[in-house]
Amino acid sequence: MNGATRIGYVRRPSPLHAARATVAATYGCALAVAALMTQNPILLGGLLATVLAASFAAGVGREITRAARVAALPMVVLTVLVNVLVSREGLTVFARLGDWGVLGQVNLTVEAVVYGLVLALRLLVVTLSCLLVVCAADPDELLFSFRRISPHSALTAALTTRLIPVLGADARRLAEAQRCRPDGGARGARGRLAVMRATVAGALDRSLDVAAVLEMRGYGAARAARGSGRELSRHDVAFAVAGAAVVLIALYASVTGAGSFTAYPLVHLEVSWEVISLAGAMLVVSLLPFLDRRGVQR
């Protein structure tokens, strides 16, 4: 597998990676929260542009767009399709599909398509924001931070995060060994099942090994960890402020009703300079921290 396109944290020389993990995660989460606070397609479009631009600025754009193609786009299509089929609220019918049994009379409406698209856009922004967190926030640092709140959960998470790649590697090795059998090993679903069964059978031993190492590294006797005592870096401050600003802008739009949008019974979208400015502001505010590239290399 090519590691360059695999989703996961790899330390890169970017301002977002240079920020502490909790700040990078908060920044990504702020973009997701902003998307959940708004329904306006212009603001959501602005947020989508923001997430994509931030991904590329952080050097993880290729991984995120690839993951979006593989996982998020099918989800988007499914969301639109389901909404179009089950929604009964639109008035502008463009296709009558007749009686569909349990679903009753199915009429496809423009409003349902638009609402589905907006819903999917929101889902897409949230998914990409989460992927940005996965790629830019150091999971080890997050685990250490999280441990201060819940040591047992952190232990389980650490064990699981380590065990998954170990078992994955075991499964690959087992599958390769089966190919070395004179008959090439069982193929198809039967072969996969055999490998899976053997992997699961070995999982207990593997988890014992990993747990033994964790124990020896002091997890069982973990003291209340002190605070990191690390000074806030310029990047910590910049991304924390940017995340907060994006949420505030979304909150402002939500409270003032700027850029109101309704899909049913007829589509109504207010396009104003205020909405466009808010979308632009979110984009600019979110990307400003990336301009400062001092101290990004570790």
Binding site: N2, G3, A4, G8, Y9, V10, R11, D138, P139, D140, E141, L143, F144, A158, T161, R162, P165, V166, A169, D170, R173, L174, E176, A177, Q178, R179, C180, R181, P182, D183, A194, R197, A198, G202, R206, L208, D209, V210, A211, A212, V213, L214, E215, M216, R217, G218, Y219, G220, A221, A222, R223, A224, A225, R226, S228, G229, R230, R298
Partner: protein
């Protein structure tokens, strides 16, 4: 106060009918470098786990006696508390690295023990620098090689500056260069930091020169506890399988005391006037270069396996194999050697058609049966006789173990069962390919495997084997191929290739500088005896004249 003290420790694993260790008493003093020796199943790993506090807390079972680690009784203190005093490195590096980056991995035990950020940062940097892994600090652990992972695991165990380091075959996955580096890093830490070391190692020739003491186990009991020289004297008499090649060579040549390493052996030979000019470090470079010249075999026989100009280039990745030409004749016994990452395993996978060359061609006279590094990966069933046909089990000497669970077999038996699986088809294999088959094996098991493979080769099956173990290669093979950076850099009779180097050479060859092409202790003894005879003849001639 001893840093580790076991007093009449007896331990039985849950469900086991007999004790893994019985009445084991030993003490390790601060700053001591001790090697724990013994054949497979002698209880070495159990002693180490008892010292780490994993026995009995983690494994359960029945425990008797007392184990004190830095004064802490392991019955009252668990592995996490013992870990403050004793850092432990186990065999499999994959399960020993928890975090996603090397820096976080090194910080893990320190953070767990509540150290402040400044202390953690400094300890991580210093540990990484002392083990030469500072360049890996920000690398994801998922991208590290086995050797790198093992060094990270060692660094992680050392980061909290334990008074005692416990290591269970840490070099088993490393090439000779990396293995030697690790042993000397341990020695340096031991000398500079007063850290006591308890090391399990099968290849004793690698570590005896660094050790202060050797404790040998047999049947779960301590049978020898002496300095390395005393241990070798004991081994020569009572447990020859534990004697190093140098000691065996000296014993066969009638020389005493047995040497604990190459330096001591050469000094002894020099004093006795048995190192000739060419063998005393004055070799010209011409001889080794001529020996390492690429040799292509051209015989009239149809080859069992032929690789012609094979390249393996990863998409957006490095080139693993570069125009490899290799021809193996039926019944030929060939070893592939080279550093970790040289391309040995990839070459074997190409031979078995698990991979397709990006350029070049692979041809074979029949099926290539490939045994990968972990024999356990081949087992899918609960009974031995469900895994392979009866005839194949008989050939592998496992005919009477049909009802056993494959996972309950010993290391050597597991390997033979995996061989029975890959050889068990209707079509006989033209080539048997093995990837690091001697990893974690004691000398007796290695000899048994070598005998078995020689038997298959005598029947006409070509054997191609990748290994880091020069001693095994010398004993088993007739031809050695040395790979570096995906290229064949030497290909010739095993005596030529293994006698001409420093790292990819046997201990005998290193002691005698490859004189007479001697790579095995018996051959080395013959060389020494011939020099003794020549010296005696010269002396006699001198007296007459």
């Amino acid at each position: 106060m001893s840093v580790l003290e076991l007093d009449r420790v007896t331990y039985t694993y849950p469900g086991a009918s007999s004790a893994a260790i019985s009445d084991v008493s030993l003490a390790i003093e601060p700053g001591e470098f001790c090697v724990l020796a013994g054949l497979s199943g002698s209880g070495k790993s159990t002693v180490l786990r008892a010292a780490a506090g994993l026995v009995p807390h983690f494994h359960g079972g029945r425990f008797a006696g007392t184990a004190l680690v830095g004064g802490l009784d392991t019955r009252e203190h668990g592995a996490a508390e013992i870990g403050r005093i004793a850092g432990t490195v186990l065999q499999d590096p994959e399960t020993q690295v928890i975090m996603t980056t090397v820096r976080a991995e090194l910080a893990l035990s320190l953070e767990n023990r509540g150290h402040g950020a400044a202390f953690v940062a400094r300890a991580v940097e210093e540990t990484a620098l002392s083990l030469g892994i500072a360049h890996l600090l920000d690398r994801p652990t998922s991208e590290l090689s086995g050797g790198e992972l093992q060094r990270v695991a060692l660094a992680s165990a050392l980061a909290s500056r334990p008074a005692l380091v416990l290591l269970d075959e840490p070099t088993s996955q490393l090439d000779p260069v990396a293995g030697d580096e690790l042993i000397w890093q341990l020695r340096r830490l031991n000398q500079e930091g007063d850290t006591a070391v308890l090391l399990i190692e099968h290849r004793l020739e690698r570590c005896l020169a660094a050790a202060d003491r050797v404790i040998a186990l047999a049947g779960g009991r301590v049978v020898c506890d002496r300095d390395p020289g005393g241990f070798l004297e004991w081994a020569a008499e009572l447990e020859p399988a534990l004697a190093t090649p140098g000691a065996r060579m000296f014993a066969r040549a009638g020389l005493r005391p047995p040497p604990t390493g190459v330096k001591q052996a050469r000094a002894a030979l020099r004093r006795a006037g048995l190192l000739d000019g060419a063998a005393s470090g004055q070799l010209t470079t011409e001889a080794p270069l001529r020996r390492s010249r690429l040799r292509r075999r051209r015989t009239g026989q149809t080859p069992a396996l032929q690789l012609s100009g094979v390249w393996h280039e990863l998409t957006r990745g490095p080139t693993i194999l570069r125009a490899v030409d290799l021809q193996v004749a039926p019944g030929e016994r060939v070893v592939l050697m080279g550093r970790n990452g040289a391309g040995k395993s990839t070459l074997l996978r190409h031979a078995a058609r698990l991979l397709q060359p990006t350029r070049g061609r692979v041809r074979s006279a029949g099926r290539v049966a490939l045994l990968l590094q972990n024999p356990g990966d081949y087992f899918l069933h609960e009974r031995v006789d469900q895994e392979a046909p009866t005839a194949a089990l008989e050939t592998a000497g496992l005919g009477d173990l049909g009802a056993r669970n494959p996972r309950d077999l010993s290391g050597g038996q597991r390997q033979r069962l995996a061989l029975a699986i890959v050889l068990g088809g209707d079509e006989p294999a033209a080539v048997i390919a093995l990837d690091e088959p001697t990893r974690g094996m004691d000398t007796a098991s290695k000899r048994s495997l070598a005998r078995w493979l020689r038997g298959r080769a005598a029947e006409g099956t070509a054997v191609l084997l990748a290994t880091h173990d020069a001693e095994f290669a010398a004993e088993f093979a007739e031809r050695a191929v040395l790979l570096a950076d995906g290229r064949v850099i030497a290909d010739g009779p095993v005596a030529e290739v293994l006698a001409g180097g420093r790292y990819f050479a046997t201990e005998t060859a290193r002691i005698l500088d490859g004189a007479g092409g001697a790579i095995l202790p018996e051959q080395g003894a013959d060389v020494i005896l011939s020099r003794v005879a020549a010296a005696a003849a010269r002396a006699e001639g001198g007296v007459r004249s």
